[in-house]
C-alpha cells in the first residue's frame, strides 16, 4: 500500500502575491507530497470545497493581505461544517505575532511567518499528519 500525503496550498482573499505559496508547493513536492494548488484569489468556500473533493490531509493557507484573522477561521469553520475535521490546517504569510494565538484558538494548528526554513514546514507536516495504517 502506497500512501502519499496530499496538501492543498491555497491563497484566500484578495491577495495577488503567490511566490511564497509556489515556493512552498515546490518544497512539498520535493518532499514527496502531492500538492494541489488553487491559484490566487480564492474564497474560503472554494478552498473548503476543493479540500474535500481532493481528500487532502493538509490545507496550507497563505495570506499577505492582512485579512488572515477573517479568512483563516472561515476556512476552518467551513471544513468542520462539511465534516472534514480530520484535515490539518496551517497558515503562513505576513502575520503579526499578536494574531498567532487568536488563529491557533480558531483551528489553525500552526502559523509560519516570513523566513521560516522550508524544512520546518515539511517536517511539521510529516510529524502531524496521521496516516491511517
Amino acid at each position: 500500500m502506497e500512501q502519499k500525503i496530499r496538501v492543498l496550498v491555497a491563497k484566500p482573499g484578495l491577495d495577488g502575491h503567490d511566490r511564497g505559496a509556489k515556493v512552498l508547493a515546490r518544497a512539498f513536492m520535493d518532499a514527496g507530497m502531492e500538492v494541489i494548488y488553487t491559484g490566487i484569489r480564492r474564497t474560503p468556500e472554494q478552498i473548503a470545497e476543493v479540500a474535500v473533493q481532493e481528500d487532502v490531509d493538509v490545507v496550507a493557507l497563505s495570506c499577505l493581505s492582512g485579512a488572515h484573522n477573517t479568512l483563516f477561521p472561515k476556512v476552518v469553520d467551513l471544513l468542520r461544517g462539511k465534516g472534514a475535521d480530520d484535515i490539518l490546517i496551517m497558515g503562513g504569510g505576513v502575520i503579526p505575532e499578536d494574531d498567532i494565538s487568536f488563529l491557533k484558538q480558531h483551528g489553525i494548528s500552526e502559523v509560519f511567518g516570513p523566513g521560516t526554513p522550508l524544512a520546518t514546514c515539511v517536517n511539521y507536516i510529516r510529524s502531524h499528519v496521521k496516516k491511517e495504517a
Binding site: 500500500m1 502506497e2 500512501q3 502519499k4 496530499r6 508547493a25 515546490r26 512539498f28 513536492m29 520535493d30 518532499a31 514527496g32 507530497m33 502531492e34 500538492v35 494541489i36 494548488y37 488553487t38 491559484g39 480564492r42 468556500e45 472554494q46 470545497e49 476543493v50 474535500v52 473533493q53 481532493e54 481528500d55 462539511k82 465534516g83 472534514a84
Partner: protein, 312 residues
C-alpha cells in the same frame, strides 16, 4: 461515515475518500468497488488527451460547465505527472478549472501518475467506477500532457478527444502512430490564433490515410479560452456515443473494459506478490548470482514466478 453508502448516495467526502483508497491500493478501496460495482455502467466516460499546454484543462472545464448547465452531473479526473525523483507532484489542472469548481454537480479530482507511464494513474480506471456509482452522468478523464505513446486513456474512455493547438504543425508528422490513432475526435484549440486552419487541414489529411471503421473522426476548431465551439464538441461526443450504441460497439467496449478492470487488479496483485518474493532475504543471494553473471535474470524470474504462484 460509511464510505460505500456515501458513494452510492453521491456524497462528495465519501467519493473522495474512496478514490484515495483505490489510489493507495488500500484493501478498503477494493471493498468499496465490490459494493458499488453493480451500480456502475450508467456514466459516459470521455477521455481528453493532447500535448502539454494544448488547453485540455480549460476545455474540460468549459465542457463541464456546459453540461452542468444542462442539468448533468459531471466528474473530472485530471492527471498530472509525479516527480520521478521525489515521488511528489504539483497538480495544477484545477487552476484552470476554477470557473466550474464550485458549480453544483461538478466534482474534480486531481491525480498524480505515481509512476505509471501511459498518461494516467493506475487507479484512474477504478476512480471512474466510483464516480459512475456515485451517479455522475459524465466522467472526463484528462491525461497528463501526452506526446505519442501515452494512450492508456483509450482503454478507460468510450470516446477519446485529442486536443491540439496551432503552431505545432511539425509534430503532426511525429504523431502518426499512437495518439493520432486513438482520437474519436480531434480538437484544434486556440482556433483564434494564426495557423489553426492549417493545423486542422494537416490533421484531416493525416486522418484520411487511416482505414475507415464506420466513424470518421471529425476535426473541430474551438477556443476554450473564449468559450467558442464548445457546443460542437459536446454534439460530436453525443454523435459518437450514438454511433457506438447503434453499431453495437459500446457493448463490445464494455466487455473489453470489464476485462481490463480484471486485468488491472490481477497485475497489481501479481506485482505485489512478486515484489514480496523478490524482497525475501533468501532471494538476495540469487540476485547476487545474477549480478555476478553466475545466473541470468530469466532463470531467477522463472523461480520467483513459480514460488509466487504457489503462494497465491
Amino acid at each position: 461515515m460509511d464510505v460505500k453508502l456515501g458513494v452510492l448516495a453521491g456524497d462528495t467526502r465519501a467519493v473522495a475518500r474512496a478514490i484515495t483508497w483505490v489510489e493507495n491500493g488500500d484493501p478498503r478501496g477494493a471493498e468499496v468497488i465490490r459494493g458499488v460495482y453493480g451500480s456502475t455502467g450508467r456514466a459516459y466516460i470521455v477521455g481528453v488527451t493532447g500535448s502539454p499546454g494544448a488547453g485540455k484543462s480549460t476545455l474540460v472545464s468549459r465542457l463541464a460547465a456546459l453540461l452542468a448547465a444542462r442539468g448533468q452531473k459531471v466528474g473530472i479526473l485530471a492527471v498530472d505527472p509525479s516527480s520521478p525523483f521525489s515521488g511528489g507532484a504539483i497538480l495544477g489542472d484545477r487552476v484552470r478549472m476554477f470557473d466550474v469548481a464550485l458549480t453544483r454537480d461538478v466534482y474534480i479530482r486531481s491525480m498524480a501518475t505515481r509512476g505509471s507511464l501511459g498518461g494516467l494513474n493506475r487507479a484512474t480506471r477504478m476512480a471512474a467506477r466510483i464516480l459512475d456509482a456515485a451517479g455522475f452522468d459524465w466522467i472526463f478523464v484528462e491525461t497528463v500532457g501526452a506526446g505519442q505513446s501515452e494512450v492508456d486513456v483509450h482503454d478507460v474512455a468510450y470516446t477519446t478527444a485529442v486536443v491540439m493547438a496551432p503552431g505545432m504543425g511539425d509534430d503532426i508528422q511525429a504523431m502518426k502512430a499512437g495518439i493520432m490513432e486513438i482520437g474519436d475526435l480531434f480538437i484544434i484549440n486556440k482556433a483564434d490564433r494564426d495557423g489553426a486552419d492549417r493545423t486542422a487541414t494537416q490533421v484531416e489529411s493525416v486522418l484520411q490515410l487511416s482505414m475507415t471503421t464506420g466513424w470518421n473522426p471529425p476535426v473541430l476548431k474551438v477556443s476554450a479560452e473564449q468559450n467558442t465551439g464548445i457546443e460542437s464538441v459536446v454534439d460530436t461526443i453525443e454523435r459518437h456515443r450514438t454511433h457506438l450504441v447503434a453499431s453495437g460497439k459500446l457493448d463490445a467496449l464494455k466487455i473489453r473494459m470489464a476485462k481490463l478492470d480484471v486485468l488491472e487488479i490481477l497485475k497489481a496483485r501479481l506485482a505485489d506478490t512478486m515484489k514480496q518474493q523478490l524482497d525475501q532475504p533468501a532471494v538476495q543471494a540469487e540476485l547476487e548470482k545474477v549480478a555476478s553473471k553466475q545466473s541470468d535474470p530469466y532463470s531467477l524470474a522463472d523461480i520467483i514466478f513459480e514460488e509466487s504462484w504457489r503462494n497465491t
